[in-house]
């Protein structure tokens, strides 16, 4: 959910509560104000009638439907103005109506009169209606302004934030440039930007250090390892016994393994560092065909039955060198772990690369082979980094690798989309 929508919803809810409470308050205020004004008016009327009685008008002739004059015992104390709601017959409307009755007593010429005067009150429903209509209009006006605000206002206010987001999105280790965010006048955004700038600087420094480390590591190990290899090759040419030959072979192979591990790890590091940008899509079909051709002898050696279905112009956005590493890894795996006289099917199209091969069925979930140093057979000579390189390549170029066992065949699929 967008921040602005959330804010709007909250704002609408709060406004609704505020308008409701405000409406109630206004309703109460209206009601009491009307009652008060009406009371004063009635008081004035009653006073006027009392004056007329005082000036000699006969009390019983003044009476009409709104006025009630009654004589009460003289010794009762004078009654103050007394207001109450009542239902009385209203002549013009010809029905009973809510009315306000005001009464007060006067002592005039030795007589005690209680004068009561009725008047129609403004009904509660009428007030409610007015209040609700008013509040609703206010609410609508607010919604209108809110809509305007979210459409235009927020865009303007949040523009620096979106600019920052865009910059972060395009941040790239290869460019080796820390973020440079434009200054802006909103304190929070300014704080965020300066924090991001510092962070990007630090990230780049860390990245450089790690990169240097992995590059140095592979370089520093490769040189002594090259020396070992050279010395062993010289040693092979000496007059040696079979026992010595075996030892040389063993050292030689271990040295080769170190080499492979270092090379694979440095490849993984490079992939993790997002090197090898892929500027455009390339056609994988010639690469697949060439690699299968290059491994023809190995295929023949294992007497594999090979079927290929390679669609031309199978375009994928990937670095050409890495595409070769990926496909070579997959196909050589399919050959290496195959059984004598087994099967190898390679299918390539726009949508996926699918490699099926026979082989021993692993006990564990084949997906686990994507992990580093994970091997199906612990005695195998492979170093167990091949599929983790595959996985890292897939992650780097937004591909999806799936490893399943189907009909007793190992099926490795790389989905391009």
């Amino acid at each position: 959910m967008k921040l602005i929508n959330l804010l709007t919803i909250w704002y609408i809810l709060i406004t609704m509560i505020a308008l409701f409470l405000g409406g109630l308050l206004i309703f109460k205020k209206f009601e009491s104000e009307i009652d008060f004004e009406l009371g004063r008016e009635l008081d004035r009327q009653i006073d006027a009638y009392a004056k007329r009685i005082e000036s000699g008008a006969p009390a019983n002739r003044l009476i009409y439907d709104k006025l009630e004059i009654r004589e009460i015992p003289y010794d009762l104390p004078l009654e103050e103005l007394y207001l109450r709601d009542t239902v009385a017959f209203h002549d013009p409307m010809n029905r009973a109506e809510n009315q306000l009755k005001a009464s007060k007593s006067y002592k005039i010429d030795g007589k005690h009169y209680r004068i009561s005067y009725y008047n129609v009150v403004v009904e509660a429903e009428d007030i409610t209606e007015t209040v609700v209509i008013t509040m609703f209009s206010v609410f609508l006006i607010q919604l209108l302004f809110l809509g305007f605000f979210t459409r235009i206002g927020s865009k303007k206010i949040l523009r620096p934030f979106h600019q920052t987001l865009d910059q972060i999105r395009s941040f790239n280790f290869q460019k080796n440039e820390p973020l440079h965010l434009p200054k802006n006048s909103i304190a929070e955004f300014e704080k965020l930007n300066s924090f991001l700038e510092k962070m990007s600087q630090k990230l780049l420094n860390d990245y450089r250090q790690i990169k240097e480390f992995s590059e140095n590591l592979s370089h520093e190990i490769q040189t002594p390892s090259a020396i070992i290899r050279g010395k062993l090759e010289h040693l092979m040419n000496e007059d040696i016994s079979e026992k010595q030959a075996m030892m040389i072979q063993s050292v030689y192979q271990s040295n080769e393994k170190i080499n492979k591990i270092v090379r694979s790890l440095s490849m993984l590091a490079k992939l993790e560092n997002e090197e090898f940008e892929a500027p455009e899509k390339i056609d994988l079909s010639p690469i697949v065909s060439k690699l299968i051709e290059g491994m023809e002898e190995l295929i023949e050696l294992k007497n594999l039955e090979v079927k290929t279905q390679i669609q031309e112009n199978s375009l994928v956005k990937i670095h050409p060198f890495i595409a070769e590493v990926l496909i070579q890894n997959l196909i050589s795996n399919a050959i290496k772990h195959n059984i004598d006289g087994g099967k190898l099917y390679v299918e390539l199209n726009d949508y996926s690369l699918r490699i099926e091969n026979s082989g021993l069925i692993p006990e564990k979930d084949p997906e686990e082979f994507f992990g580093r140093f994970s091997k199906g057979n612990n005695n195998s000579d492979s170093i167990g980094l091949g599929l983790s390189i595959v996985k890292q390549i897939c992650r780097r170029y937004n591909l999806r690798a799936i490893y399943r066992i189907e009909n007793n065949l190992h099926v490795l699929t790389i989905l391009f989309k």
Binding site: N237, S266, L291
Partner: protein, 227 residues
């Protein structure tokens, strides 16, 4: 053939020198850019083996130096920097070949010979070895004047053996020579055995001697002194 090895690691230089000297290659060495430039101005070399990471600069500078001074030596780059960029840049700037470290000495020799053949002999060369004649331009082998029906890989294998004759060549070196990077993941070397077997069979069938000897489990040796 006279070469200059520009490499800062003395052990590695020593390895190369002692291997190549046995092949009648005259080796001189330089351990930094300065020495190398000095030697290049003073002497004539057929080929330069160039390491890219030198204590006083990048080996690629030598390529420029060679161009400016119109030195006609070929250049074989050896580098531990296994990065694609360096490889492409090196070849772009006029190097003849690029061999990533660590390499097999037999491979180094084969590459040197190949460069030499390409540039000095116009690619065509006949290697005579007793009854065996290799024509590198035609990719053809004759044993007792009879053309052998060899695959490209078998031809490369024989050339590799004859170039490194009298040397023990490890199975790994052979695999890497024939299949390059593909061997990275192929731990078993049955296919090397298979190829050597086929080659031996074809030479024997044509009446050639079986020069190729198995050396324990390590590898093979093309032995001219076979009885």
């Amino acid at each position: 053939m006279k070469i200059l090895i520009i490499e800062d690691n003395p052990e590695l230089t020593q390895n190369m020198v002692s291997y190549l000297q046995g092949e009648n290659i005259l080796c001189e060495t330089a351990s930094n850019l300065f020495d190398a430039q000095d030697k290049l101005l003073g002497f004539q070399y057929d080929c330069i083996i160039l390491d890219l990471m030198l204590p006083d600069g990048n080996g690629l500078d030598i390529l420029n130096f060679i161009k400016i001074n119109k030195i006609s030596s070929n250049v074989l780059i050896i580098s531990a920097k296994d990065s694609l960029d360096d490889r492409l840049q090196g070849l772009d700037e006029g190097a003849d070949d690029y061999l990533p470290k660590p390499f097999h000495l037999s491979e180094l020799l084969a590459r040197l010979r190949a460069i030499y053949r390409r540039s000095r002999l116009g690619g065509s060369d006949q290697l005579n070895f007793n009854e065996i004649v290799l024509d590198t331009a035609m990719i053809q082998v004759k044993v007792h004047q009879k053309i052998l029906d060899l695959t490209k890989k078998e031809f490369d294998l024989l050339l590799f053996f004859i170039t490194n004759k009298n040397r023990v060549i490890g199975k790994e070196a052979i695999a890497q020579h024939l299949w390059g990077d593909y061997t990275d993941d192929l731990a078993n070397f049955d296919f090397v055995y298979q190829h050597v077997k086929n080659l031996r069979k074809k030479i024997s069938q044509a009446g050639g001697k079986d020069y190729i000897k198995t050396v324990y489990g390590i590898g093979y040796k093309f032995d001219p002194n076979i009885s």
